[in-house]
């Protein structure tokens, strides 16, 4: 089966500093991959580059998504093709209501697929259904995007958006950071419920903790801009016990 995501020798810089130094990664439909690594190893840069953040510049390498050249696409087209980034630090956008934001996002996606705009009643039904999946307060979706949300609410809101948009590849960038154990469970169970044989998840995390709830098929260790080790789920446990040092300074 062809890979959903195929990254070859990816190099990227930010402010003239090379952060990614030759990443190779293959993700197939239905798989969950975890990318772990110490601070500053390039985990968040990888997720930003995949989502198309203009602050990062790709200098070498290729990324193919569903057979298409991802790096050629604008961020909005990547999203419409089915890439979803759950932000490590979701942005507060005062004045843009969650409802208008989500309606615009859903309709842009439908337009891309030549589908008619969603009806008002269908949209409200979808919102309610996904909100309940994440146990989100109905008040939250009536507010401005992330404005005044607590850290946990922001992360729930990311997964709520993921549920609304049903991506083919969800990239969860440190989704567990800032979550207490209850919120972590809700978020993880949301991700698990949304995951099917047709999509893939890339979990980027510091800690093994999240992987107790979202079970990966593969675990990769990113260090200094490169994947230095890939393995089975028990690699995560080993990292939890031994730290990264044995890999970095073997």
């Amino acid at each position: 089966m062809a890979n959903l995501l195929q990254i070859n020798n990816l190099h990227a810089i930010v402010e003239n500093k090379e952060i990614l130094k030759g990443i190779n990664l293959e993700v197939k439909k239905g798989e969950i991959h975890a990318i772990m690594g110490p601070n500053g190893s390039g985990k968040s840069t990888l997720s930003s580059v995949l989502a198309g953040n203009p602050k990062f510049e790709v200098t070498r390498g290729t990324v193919h998504f569903n057979g298409k050249d991802l790096l050629e696409m604008e961020p909005e087209d990547r999203a419409r093709e089915g890439i979803f980034l759950s932000f490590q630090y979701p942005v507060e956008i005062p004045g843009v209501s969650m409802v208008n934001f989500m309606r615009a996002a859903v309709n842009e996606q439908r337009k891309y697929k030549n589908e008619p705009p969603i009806s008002a009643s269908e949209f409200l039904k979808l919102m309610r259904e996904k909100r309940e999946l994440l146990g989100m307060d109905s008040q939250l979706v009536n507010r401005s995007v992330n404005e005044g949300f607590s850290g946990g609410e922001k992360k729930k809101n990311e997964i709520f958006q993921m549920a609304m948009l049903k991506p083919k590849l969800a990239i969860l960038d440190e989704t567990d950071s800032g979550l207490d154990i209850d919120a972590l469970r809700v978020v993880a169970s949301g991700v698990n419920k949304l995951h099917t044989e047709d999509d893939a998840v890339l979990v980027i995390t510091h800690y093994q903790r999240l992987l107790d709830y979202i079970k990966p098929d593969k675990v990769h260790v990113l260090y200094n801009g490169k994947i230095i080790k890939s393995g089975e789920p028990d690699l995560a446990l080993e990292l939890e016990n031994r730290g990264y040092d044995w890999l970095i300074n073997p």
Binding site: P54, V91, Q109
Partner: protein, 449 residues
């Protein structure tokens, strides 16, 4: 000297001026003339007018309709308001004159007066004398003095004690003329003790000539009165608009004003709020969306004369292309005005590298137990927010529009008429999309595209 032609004109046509107005207005002309002859128009050498050169506009050969030659216009045909169905009480000023044939208005409470300034001065001479040209101090401002010299009519809302008008009133100012024209109009709003009124003023040019407009608005809110005063400017690029709003508030009164410029040429708005009774509140909003070479300058002076009052200013500008803007906010807290709360915020978005904004807070505080703050930011759209929206599939242009509309949101939130808020959001959306290239539904601006 630019002023000379107007000084000569005044002396030469004094008789016509008086004959086509009424004693109440005429009695102020001499004194105003004296002031104007002495100080003239402010120039960009005056600190408060540093970023607005208003004199040049008067250099043109402008006509003044001092003899009140009737201007044939049916305001219902001339233009379709951009804020329809807001009110069942709609009034018009054609240039500076009150339009007497307004149709289909629902009756207002009998004791309320809404209509011509001339009529009001005759029907309520005492109330008129107490307020007209009293709130609007012209001793140190050449534009206000000029307006007082030439003003012959205007619009009045007078709401007596304990009367509350629930539905908003709407005044539509129509600028009409076959030649370049100077128009000097007045608005007077009086709410007596515990009275309430809301007024929306829409400003609109319908002819393709250069209009230079001065407008002096006087607002008096007596004890526990509540006045909402909203202005929507949709003028052509050929209009120079100089407004001066003066507001005086007594104990427990509450005044909200908001000036929204959706389309304009050259705009200078002066605001002066005086809080004269304890526990009075003034909420002052302003929003301008400018592009081309449009210019907007807001000058706000809030005077806290007594303790325990609150003032809150929020002014925002979105400037594109070669537009320029200025904001100056002066807050004076007098010595006895303890427990004052005075807040001021000015935020600006410069969309293009050529757009310019000049902003200056001025706080003068002579009391020691007060809370005052000012905040000022100028910048571009938030790149992180832009990326966040794009990462959800919203295209770049649409995301920019969403953020620009969002930027204006809190100014609209100050408006206490829900339907007007919604309508304005819609119009602002259209404006940013370039679908409101010209001022609303009139036919003038098409000549300039």
């Amino acid at each position: 000297m630019v002023e000379k032609q107007y000084i000569d004109l005044f002396e030469q046509y004094r008789r016509e001026l008086d004959d086509n107005s009424v004693e109440g207005l005429n009695r102020h002309r001499d004194k105003a003339f004296e002031v104007f002859s002495k100080i003239g128009f402010p120039t960009s050498k005056d600190e408060d007018y540093k970023y607005s050169n208003i004199v040049d506009a008067f250099d043109d050969d402008l006509g003044l309709n001092l003899r009140n030659i009737p201007i044939p216009v049916n305001p219902y045909d001339a233009f379709k308001c951009d804020v329809p169905n807001l009110s069942s009480h709609v009034f018009f000023l054609i240039n500076d004159r009150y339009y007497r044939d307004a149709q289909n208005n629902e009756p207002l409470p009998e004791t309320v007066f809404v209509g011509s300034l001339q009529d009001f001065s005759q029907q309520y001479p005492d109330v008129f004398a107490k307020h007209y040209a009293q709130i609007a101090d012209y001793s140190d401002n050449g534009v206000v003095a000029y307006n007082t010299m030439f003003a012959q009519d205007g619009f009045v809302v007078y709401v007596p004690k304990n009367v509350q008008i629930e539905k908003p009133l709407q005044l539509i100012n129509i600028l009409r003329g076959g030649v370049d024209l100077n128009v000097n109009r007045r608005i007077l709003i009086i709410a007596e003790e515990n009275a309430q009124v809301k007024l929306l003023v829409c400003d609109h040019a319908v002819d393709d000539v250069h209009f230079v407009v001065t407008q002096v608005t006087e607002i008096f809110a007596d004890k526990s009165a509540q006045i909402d005063y909203y202005e929507l400017e949709e003028n052509s690029v050929k209009v120079t608009r100089l407004t001066s709003l003066f507001s005086e508030q007594m104990e427990n009164s509450n005044v909200v004003t908001s000036g929204i410029t959706l389309h304009n040429g050259y705009t200078r708005n002066n605001y002066r709020f005086r809080l004269l009774g304890e526990h009075a509140e003034a909420h002052v909003g302003g929003l301008a969306i400018c592009d081309k070479k449009q210019h907007v300058d807001n000058y706000v002076f809030v005077d806290h004369a007594v303790p325990n009052c609150l003032s809150n200013e929020l002014f925002k500008n979105v400037l594109d292309e070669q537009a320029t803007g200025a904001f100056c906010g002066r807050i004076l807290v007098e010595k006895d005005a303890q427990k004052t709360l005075a807040y001021q915020t000015n935020r600006n978005l410069c969309i293009s590298p050529d757009a310019r904004i000049y902003s200056k807070p001025q706080l003068e505080i002579y009391a020691d137990d007060v809370k005052c703050s000012h905040g000022l930011t100028t910048g571009q759209l938030d790149e992180d927010a832009l990326f966040y929206l794009r990462a959800r599939g919203i295209d770049k242009e649409e995301a920019r529009l969403l953020l620009m509309v969002a930027f204006t949101r809190d100014v609209l939130d100050l408006i206490r008429i829900d339907s007007l808020q919604e309508r304005l959001e819609h119009l602002i959306n259209k404006r940013f999309r370039g679908e409101l290239l010209r001022c609303g539904n009139c036919n003038v601006c098409k000549y300039f595209d």
